[in-house]
């Protein structure tokens, strides 16, 4: 007995690099990033869009990559946690997460960073409520969110009063 699957060539740009990969037609973007391309920064926490650990930026929008089919990203630009730093220079948000101790186990951190970066691009001066609202799709079980909120405030130039 055999399973019927076919493979699809996908042309995309990942973290600024033109990237061609071969996707199983059943692969989600998350599976393709992790299993085909070797970018394991995006994590699987629930595989149904409820936890945000697999957040990536797809053409400027935050998506749960577990809910996007790999074949859908043909021609798209994908940005993952691996693309946040500029070489060995961490982004202000990455530095703020370290300074504020905004992670404990770290499994949700890539998703939070990608989501928070998109927030700050749209709204450079968010209120605490706006940060909480924006990040409500990202679950963290370790921190109680306090230090994550403070890190985003710090990166936004707040929290230094």
């Amino acid at each position: 007995m055999t399973t019927q699957t076919s493979h699809i060539v996908v042309n995309t740009t990942i973290n600024g690099e033109p990237t061609v990969f071969l996707a199983n037609e059943r692969d989600s973007l998350l599976e393709a990033l992790r299993d085909r391309i070797g970018l394991t920064g995006a994590k699987e926490g629930c595989n149904n869009g409820n936890c945000g650990a697999c957040c990536v930026n797809l053409d400027g929008r935050i998506v749960n990559s577990c809910l996007v089919m790999a074949a859908e990203v043909e021609g798209s630009e994908v940005r993952t946690v691996e693309g946040l730093a500029d070489g060995d220079q961490l982004s202000p948000l990455q530095n703020a997460f370290l300074e504020e101790a905004a992670l404990q186990c770290g499994i949700c951190t890539p998703g939070f960073l990608v989501a928070a970066e998109a927030l700050l691009e749209q709204n450079p001066d968010p209120s605490e409520h706006e940060i909480r609202y924006w990040l409500a799709g990202n679950l963290c079980r370790c921190t109680g969110y306090d230090k994550i909120i403070r890190a985003v405030q710090l990166a936004a130039g707040q929290g230094q009063d």
Binding site: N48, Q104, C105, L135, R141, C142
Partner: protein, 763 residues
């Protein structure tokens, strides 16, 4: 952010500061390797077939169609495992009887809960593995499920296990089979006299639901069984040595043939101590000769791992008019899940632990039900037991018209007080936490509107010590790589490295902590029991003292003086006697480090400690809530968590434990529950329906760290991880009572529960 040094920290250079964690960069760049990130050449992907039934006899399993699917390399069932003995192994925060452990990993004759593993496959691709398990044909004979602890304790209840008897503390067993695996009792004083002395007696019943640890990373396990009979395991675990000692007997290897490499771990909270996938990966790898990786999806995590016990509890307490507590009677029935081993014993010891009550009886029952085998969850057993007792304390305060913190202070356990289980306290910070709560701005503020209320509760957890190991070498540039066996769940590389740095007199950044496999470090118990900073830090201290001694000896050798004349100062300067011309002789740490290679070789420090002097932890939480009378929704408006940390090594990560523990406790109080239908089908096995707090559900959680150093630790550490999950539920229950006059004695206090309690029944 307030970063002023505490009084305790002011005596130290490194302890009490907030350095950036050593593993931080890897965790903000995506470089950190968690278990599911591992990819090995030729690796196969596994998948587990799980029981759709809560209680069923397995009549037959036909794997032939699955095995014939192209790309499938192996299909296994329980029959592929050697028979396990009924020996019991230590698992750090609990124990496991091997035959039950194996049965939970993969069912033998019966499926005992929905989600129980039945068979497993390994295939070249995870899509094929998913297809393959669909092709496995299982014939079940359905049996009636037992889902509630009270039902399970009835003589007439269907029995989960043939031959399971109720064990008593004196070693006796019940005559007939029972779902109650054990009964324990702690008692002191005279209950009759205690209640006779009371002016007010309150007796209440409490029910709590199973709740899951909710770590964001699902379980994973990768194994490679080599042709020479050695087994490598990579997994996200709280205890690499526990995995080694669990897997080895299940696959009939000696622990020395098994090497476990702990990958980064995406949360555990106690739930990543037991093995689930690792033994399956091992047998699949043995059958195929290739590495095999298994990961769970979220539904499997909720169905088949974790949770903590659902419970039925009764508490009766008596007090004099002046507030003196005279007697406490506690009955705890805990669901163990499908196999014995609930945390009822710990719950029983914690139940009345914050108070000095002369007359106590605490009964605990460990009861099997057709739900997943419970695992440790942050202060296992205590959130349930102390929910019940703290709720009664708060109700007593109301009836006696005494401030709830004053009532607690009046009866607080202090040094020399003993619990019903016989333990007598040393130096503890119980009173200090209550006083800090009384002095907090939160406690002294006013509530702002209608339907708002304030509650307070106390919490106690033991903390444990046990075995930890450390190695450290001195590099020529004065940096010190530190080798540890404790997986780092929440900043323990930093908190352990800081204690090594403090002892050596160098900076936290000059220490480079590494977590390594079971062949590369001495035995180290689980990251759990709030033990890691305590025991790991002690090992680091001893390791540093070993380096100090060797550095002093080396200086003596270089100076050609007696080692007894050389001293390693806390400022990391090694001083010797003056030379013949009267000049002071000294080495800085780096200076001497640079001369080690040429003066006889490098220096390695090492330590293995096994300590039992862990320091009990207390916490006091204050919460303000607002109840929406139309929807039943409870909003947490303000939250303050006070806790005695002993000494806060890295205050930011101590605060993080307090805040995270409070958040989990809030979830347990308001939303999180295992919702089963009558057939034993878990109806909310997703993170949409198993409702954990989001950023939008919580306010800032203000941490107030109290430091009453533990005299049983070189730096006064107590351990901080667990106690903060205990007070939230009773504090919230009291706040709801204050807001709308409802005493909700079942958890979670969901909107549905509040509406059911407030709305008139439909006619």
């Amino acid at each position: 952010m307030v970063t002023a040094q505490s009084e305790v920290a002011s005596q130290y250079n490194v302890i009490g500061t907030r350095p950036i964690r050593h593993d931080g960069v890897d965790k903000v760049t995506g470089a950190a390797q968690y278990g599911a990130d591992l990819q090995l050449p030729g690796m196969l992907y596994g998948r587990v077939l799980r029981s759709p039934h809560a209680h069923a006899r397995i009549v037959s399993i036909d794997t032939s169609k699955a095995a014939a699917l192209e790309g499938v390399k192996s299909v296994i069932t329980n029959a592929d495992f050697p028979r396990a003995s009924d020996d019991v192994i230590d698992t750090g925060e609990g124990s496991a009887q091997l035959n039950w452990l194996l049965d939970n990993v993969i069912a033998s004759d019966k499926a005992l809960y929905k989600g129980h593993a039945i068979a497993a496959v390994a295939a070249v691709d995870h899509h094929i593995a998913e297809d393959a398990i669909e092709l496995i044909e299982v014939e079940y004979e359905l049996l009636p499920p037992v889902l509630d602890v009270r039902d399970a304790m009835l003589d007439t209840a269907p029995k989960l296990h043939d031959g399971l008897k109720t064990g008593e503390m004196d070693g006796s067993k019940s005559d007939g089979d029972s779902n109650t695996a054990s009964h324990l009792r702690f008692a002191k004083g005279d209950m009759e006299a205690g209640f006779a002395d009371a002016d007010v007696v309150i007796e209440r019943e409490f029910v709590t639901s199973m709740a899951h640890q909710g770590y964001i990373e699902p379980h994973n396990g990768t194994a490679y069984w080599r042709a020479d009979g050695t087994l490598d395991v990579w997994t996200s675990t709280q205890g690499s040595f526990v995995v080694r000692d669990s897997v080895a007997p299940l696959v009939q290897l000696s622990p020395s043939q098994v090497k476990v490499t702990p990958m980064e771990i995406g949360g555990g909270f106690g739930g990543k101590i037991p093995v689930y996938l690792e033994p399956l990966a091992a047998i699949l790898s043995r059958n195929t000769g290739r590495p095999v990786q298994l990961t769970m999806n979220r539904e499997e995590v909720l169905l088949a791992t974790g949770p903590t016990s659902g419970t039925y509890m009764r508490v009766k307490m008596g007090a004099k008019r002046d507030g003196t507590l005279t007697a406490g009677e506690v009955y705890l029935a805990f669901e163990a899940g499908a196999y014995p081993g609930s945390p009822v014993g710990a719950g029983a010891m914690c139940a009345l632990a914050p108070y000095d009550i002369p007359n106590q009886v605490i009964d605990g029952y460990d009861v099997v039900v057709n739900k997943p085998k419970t695992a440790a969850y942050r202060a296992p057993g205590a959130p349930q037991a102390e929910f019940a007792t703290e709720a009664v304390i708060n109700e007593l305060a109301e009836q006696l018209q005494i401030d709830p913190l004053e009532l607690r202070l009046q009866n607080a356990a202090v040094e020399g007080a003993s619990r019903a289980d016989g333990f007598t306290y040393g130096v503890i910070g119980n009173v200090e936490c209550m006083q800090a709560a009384q002095d907090s701005s939160h406690w002294n503020s006013e509530l702002a509107g209608p339907n708002q209320g304030r509650g307070v509760a106390q919490g106690f957890w033991f903390n444990i010590g046990f075995e930890s190991s450390a190695y450290a070498q001195v590099n020529g540039d004065g940096t010190v790589p530190l080798v540890l066996g404790s997986t780092d769940i929440g900043g323990t590389r930093a908190s352990i490295a800081m204690q090594l740095a403090e002892t050596l007199g160098i900076s936290a950044e000059e220490v480079r902590p590494h977590v390594v496999d079971t062949n590369s470090v001495g035995y180290t118990q689980v990251t759990g029991g709030s033990r890691t900073t305590f025991a790991g830090g002690w090992a680091a201290y001893e390791c540093a003292m070993d380096i100090r001694r060797q550095m002093a000896e080396r200086a003596a050798q270089i100076w050609e003086v007696d080692a007894a004349e050389v001293e390693y100062g806390d400022d990391a300067v090694i001083r010797g006697p003056a030379d013949d011309e009267g000049n002071e002789r000294s080495f800085g740490f780096k200076e001497l480090a640079g001369q080690l290679a040429a003066s006889g070789g490098h220096i390695v420090g090492r330590a293995d400690v096994n300590k039992t002097s862990s320091g009990p932890a207390f916490a006091t939480h204050i919460v303000d809530v607002e109840v929406d009378p139309d929807t039943g929704k409870v909003d947490v408006l303000r939250y303050t968590a006070v806790q005695d940390a002993g000494t806060a090594i890295h205050p930011a990560y101590v605060e993080g434990q307090m805040q995270g523990g409070a958040a989990q406790g809030i979830g347990m109080a308001l939303n999180e529950e295992y919702y089963y239908d009558e057939s034993g089908d878990l109806k909310n096995a997703s993170l949409l329906d198993y409702r954990m707090p989001t950023a939008l559900d919580l306010p800032m959680i203000e941490p107030i760290i109290v430091e009453v150093p533990n005299p049983g630790h070189p730096y006064g550490v107590r351990g901080v991880g667990e106690v903060p999950i205990i007070p939230p539920a009773p504090a919230i229950q009291a706040a709801i009572a204050d807001a709308v006059g409802l005493r909700m004695n079942e958890l979670p206090i969901s909107p549905r529960a509040i509406l059911e309690a407030t709305l008139p029944e439909e006619g």
